[in-house]
Symmetry: C2
Subunit: 245 residues, 2 copies
């Protein structure tokens, strides 16, 4: 039986724990292209068939594995061109998404301001609502990976400080504030970088980057976070698994 | 009761028909930010509650609408910066995805060749398997939108010709060949364009673009199509709706 290591004391639903553990083993190349059978997984984790099936469904939705009828569960090979792949379907923050790398953050700006008309429209909130602004340079194994411009509605995310935003803000929101992050709209486009942005990302002047704009919602459909992240596209590819209707 | 227009005689499952019809009405701004109630939709379409619920689930997964518990079904506003939005979660081909625009294609290359080692690995097929190559310039309302380099395994897609590839290849595969396109892996990155590509897309020399590499699977997990599409990023943003596990 596999003993699942808890994630910093954060209690997850059982099938999510199992999904996370299988995911870690996939990243660590512990399986040879194919998962053990459903029955073998039930015995490994000492859980019910339903729990294993729910865990498998999560991994299928993420594009980590796929089922072949009558043959088993296959691990999807990734074509990367040696770039780090960010899976758009997995909303768990960079820190947990790239477990083989060390993600660090330098806080470039942290302040609070009353929403102007444009920001109020983004958040679907009243003008003058207080908004946290966090600008961070995110680094992967010490190299600049992305510039993140992120905004949080203070009516919803009641408290942030410079110390908190040095680490994973999503972990704080979920584990400490116990908020239920549910879905997000992500818009991917290309952006020409300013000279300052090129400098921060260690790119030649005039370079472009991949920009992801995210609008993030809680279960009750409140928008708690809007962000624009500029990725150094030399090192990054985005991955989206798509199931047909 | 709403009469649903069939799509070129192609018979869809009922709930998918209803989803497509509601989607069209959303594009046409027929609702005022909010869908009619479930009961009203049941009466409009003269179908069962289950059919409406399945249709609604499709639209939620696509990020077209979202549910607010106890309040109803809201239409998601799209932030676009005036760019055409391509929804990565909707695998129905550009022609149906952008119904307000006219998509045309110029065939730049069409030929057949035996797979070399690299292509055989892409398709997970034997070397020497015959592969169709289709290179198209895709245009939106007469303006260059994308260069598509697409490959089809002839063992699976038995027949293509220059006339077929002038139009929607996906419609042909689904409606004429009756094949069941199921899921795809999509990789998004940035690519610096060659001079020829800049010329085709009407961009300055040295421009970059958004590149989407797609690996497309049938229900039995066979890879029938691999493609790389270079999008003129001046006019395009990609959209991905993400639900949390």
């Amino acid at each position: 039986m596999v003993l699942i290591q808890r994630d910093g004391g954060f209690k997850m639903v059982k099938y999510k724990e199992v999904a996370e553990d299988i995911q870690k083993r996939i990243y660590a190349n512990e399986f040879n292209g194919k998962l053990p059978t459903e029955q073998a997984l039930i015995e490994m984790y000492d859980v019910s068939r339903n729990t294993i099936r729910s865990a498998i469904n999560i991994l299928v939705k993420r594009g980590s594995i796929h089922k072949v009828q009558g043959s088993g569960l296959y691990i999807n090979r990734k074509t990367t061109d040696d770039k780090t792949i960010i899976n758009l379907s997995v909303k768990i923050g960079l820190t947990r998404l790239l477990p083989k790398s060390t993600i660090t953050s330098e806080v470039l700006d942290f302040h609070i301001f009353p929403a102007d008309a444009a920001m109020a429209q983004e958040f679907n909130c009243d003008p003058e609502t207080l908004i946290y602004r966090v600008k961070r340079l995110r680094m992967i194994d010490g190299k600049p990976l992305a510039i993140e411009n992120s905004y949080y509605n203070k009516d919803i995310v009641k408290y942030l400080d410079k110390n908190i935003v040095k680490n994973s803000i999503y972990s704080y929101i979920e584990n400490d504030l116990k908020m239920d992050i549910r879905f997000s709209d992500e818009y991917i486009s290309m952006k020409r970088l300013s000279d300052e942005e090129c400098h921060l990302l260690n790119l030649n002047q005039g370079s472009s980057c991949l920009m992801i704009k995210e609008i993030n919602f809680l279960r009750n459909s409140a928008i708690f976070n809007v962000s624009e992240t500029l990725y150094n596209s030399d090192h990054i590819a985005l991955y989206a698994p798509v199931q047909r209707d």
